[in-house]
Amino acid sequence: MDSERLRASPIYPYSHACWIRRCCGLVELILIDPRSGRIEYNVNILPDFFASLNSASFLMANDFMGLNSTDLKCCFAVSRHALILSLVVGILISLCNESTAWCSTLANAENAPLAWLDATPKADTSETEEQPEANSTSHNLSSVSATDRSQILAISHQIDLFIEAQLAKHDQQANPLASDEVFVRRIYLDAIGRIPTLKETTRFLNSNSSNKRAELIDELLDSYGYVSHQYNYFADLLRAKSRLQNAVAGQPYIDFIKDSLETNKPYDQFVHELIASEGLLIERGNGAVGYYLRDLGMPEDNMSNTVRVFLGTRLECAQCHNHPFDKWTQRQYFEMVAFTGGISYRDRSTSQNPNQAARLMRDGSLSPTERQVIQRMVRNLQTGVSGSGTGLARLPEGFLGEDGEEFEIIKAQIMFGDQPEMNPRIPREITNERTRQRLGRRQQQIPNAREIGSRELLANWLVDADNPRFATVIANRMWKQTMGLGLIEPVDIIEDNTIASNPELMDYLANSMIALDFDLKQFLRAIFNSQTYQSEAFGKDINNPAEFYFNGPVMRRMAAEQIWDSMLTLVFEEVDQRVVPELDRQLRLFGIEAADIYEVYETLREMSADEIVDLAKKVASGGRGMRAMGRPAATRGDQDRRALIAQRDRLDVAIRRAKRANEPGLLETLEERRLDLQVAIDKLPIQNRGAFIRASELPSPAPPSHFLREFGQSDREEIENANSEPSVMQVLSLMNGFVEQRIVNSSNAIVLKNVERSKSDREKIDTVFLSMLNRYPTESELAVWQADLDANPRETVADLIWTLINSNEFIFVK
């Protein structure tokens, strides 16, 4: 807030100012400290509350602080004490004692309930009874309760207030609200990661509901597309790979992320599980241990990654020396590493059978293939995470700091905040020189260290609502994901002196994240419902993010996955389903038929070492189908698919006949049946896994020369390694490759089918524009393409599709 102007206002020198605004059926009351200009306190009050009040008296100051006059503002002076305890009841009643025009327009219910969101730091939301069930699944989340909704809308609205206030301060205006055409494309891309289909587009554009944007947001957040889209984000952040080191299956880690998103697991719980979990990776439900296995053998790097991803700070410099730009010392770094001390990448709970099998493997009589098969089985049966943490670490060889010596054993200490209570015990060092030398290769190890559960303590500290960074970082990340730019940039180099471009909003978002119990879906719902999000995009270069105040969301290039999934939307129906339906979940691995990979290994775990070896022999001598390792072999799905395709082909013949016979009624019925059939075929598993399924269901990462990688999908080697830079290969692929082969020349592409059904040229052009850019063509576009259609009816539709995909408007989200 502009403290200069505040001082010049008539209410100064009273200690606090209060600013009230009414909008969208809500009333905000914001308390401002006139000295710092900082917002200290704000509440949202449902208008119903005012209905029980009959009057208000306050000082109207419409021009106060240069806010735009459509808002209702008032400022008044109060003592701080009075506010703290009696803010809502006392102040507002006294405020509203004398009726004013705006108060009387409010709802007229009597004794209406009061719902409010306390946004002060450390808000204790547990007292609010209407909190959403933390663990509710996506299925019943669709019914966002009225109270939840008011809480969400209150946040949305509060976001707008903070944005407006800051824009006003810098003499800027918010962009106008985006049209429905722009909105529908953007919300599909941001909520479920692809453009809407023709049907979805027209359904929304034609809807007369006054609340249709909010309704669409709810619908999208509850679809599987949401999981798919968010998975792509977290797979980049958490480097989720289909294959971990030593050919260990990465599927459990990927499943953990997807399942967590699908059940809308609170983010703090999700992170807690990543940091504190133990167990065998391949055992159902243990996927979280993949987080440590991703950095197998590199606990130091893992700690750097943890701090970077969840606390937005870089520690990796301090791995080798004191941090050159930040305050962290090398010793502090290893004190953090000590929390994960004693971690082992093998699951201890596993039976001895795999170990015995591994011993049998060295038996000379086994063939190389047999050995390979055993190795694959055994590795998966052993890999996991164990060790609850010793709270100890050894300073590295060549330690540079003055606050320690190389190889010194140190105790865990967190970077900031209150130290958790724990009592790591430093064991006596081995004195025998020979033993020490033998251990020399593994100097980092600390023999005889006692496990004290320090990983759990680390997790507790990390996700604690009192940890100032944790909520800020995820709130800022979600803001960036939807608005195109963080309030703090870069999102993961936050230092003590870092200031957000809108500090009040940043604080507010972090507190809202806590108030919402880290429910990411609700948090996104709040952003999506804000006017700020729904405004027209900002489409100019931003040279300094610290000086960008969000006139609207930032225009950005679609992520690789969004481009791929949008392309699929033009070709197939129903692309969102978690692509492997029950039918396809049959997989055959090592000759074991099972519903999924977990079941395969459950069966293997039951086997004795000899049985494992016998099975391996059988697998090794069997055909390809038997040997298929980790890849589902052909199943019933394949046969079904072939049968359906044969049926479709027969229908095609009938359709051609009906066309020739000029029987429009029959033709329509046949075509409808054909469409249904095609949908059924598309739903069936495609056995060729390089196939056309959503990016989130393809191997992670896609192979290096895949379309997705060409467009900048992360290689999953580094945190957030996706990029949106242009390259010649991308452009060549759009011009001469994918589009031509898969869309323009594929008679089954949905977009072409829809065009075929169009009754007039105008409708054809509309259909392509609505399918691809989700808007109607402009008059001049219509004229151009109408002329082309007249001149060359055969080629023009293909040219139009090609043109739209290759235009900037397709690839950029405005």
Partner: protein, 433 residues
Amino acid sequence: MNEVNRMKDALCRRTFVCGAAKSFLGLGAMPLLSSLAYSAEKSGWGLSRQAKAKSVIYLYMNGGMSHLDTFDTKPGAETQGPVESIKTNADGVLISEYFPNMAQQMDKVAVINSMYSNQGAHAQGRYFMHTSYFMRGTVRHPDLGAWSAYHLGKVNPGLPANVKIGGSSAGLGGGFLESEFAALPIGDPTSGLQNSTLPRGISESRFARRMDRVEQMNREFTQKYDTKLSRAYTQMYDEAVRLMKSEDLKAFDLNQENQEMRDRYGNNPFGQACLLARRLVEHGVRFIEIDDGGWDSHNENFQRVQSKSAVLDQAMAALLADLAARGMLNETMVVLATEFGRTPTIVDDRNGRNHYPQAFTCLLAGGGFKGGIKHGKTDAEGREIVDGIVEVPDFNATIAHALGIPLDKEVYSPSLRPFKVADHGKPVLSLFS
């Protein structure tokens, strides 16, 4: 100042809003800028000498090529197994009988028998070999191809600087550098550059009409939405169209070579890739890596090495002879590299050799290196290096030095950590002619 700009570019690689990094630079730029100026002054190895090599053809034997059974034979030693040694056209240089063609080209080759690494697992070894740094979970280092593109730029502005043919999923080597420096991937060497020709049935006039319509669309879009990135995409279309029309596109087309030439390199993916690499060098591509997998001979080592060697022998010998005949060898460096050697002890039960990083062999040829020599030595059983140790970063420093890349120049990752082309490696100066 160019360097400073590059550094800034590196900073904003992943966030297309460059300003994001700029405000950050405000905090940390000063020490960086001064250290850059400092390192430029010191300049070190690179700038004083005239680099001879312009291009690199980097043959990578993925899986760990046995040193004993290829270019570090130990006639008579028990560890040698059944493999005989043969004489070559270079005095005193014996190689394995598996390489009869290479035997006629060894006068062009410097054999380094004293390679040393401490990374005994494939992924880590491969990573170390390519980048000179250990694999870390926190940063990806660029490989030599990306460094070459970064430091030396393009020879031919119409073609990419860095190309990778075949190979693993290990990625394209750009590391933390901008993606423009990462390799352009080519899967099948015989099928040319993907999507670089007009689709069947699309005439040039129709293509031109399409492009015209796109420009029309973009003009309207640009009125309201106009960013550096959206302009970059427009430019990329110009570049792509230029490439499609470019004479240089022929560089990727092996059909331009006659059958005799194609046969000479070997009718297999690796042989054809070597031929393609020669064509790319001719057209001004800076760095071409060819990845040849399958050298991980834990089992039946001799069978496997023999069959792998047959392909390598034919292709590499043809490549060296061809480059020499065209007068290109002096400016073109041919490297034969791998992540580690194989254990001298033959594992009885499966006739195999395991991973062995503490002594292995790599080759350097052309590009201003001496030919017909051996550098370094292992003991009589090929177990330990007894002379002239060349650690992995030294090997890479040697290549970088030959290309004229300044070894001391520090380049900053987005997290502002300084990295050099070969870390602390020192070039083996005795290899230069």
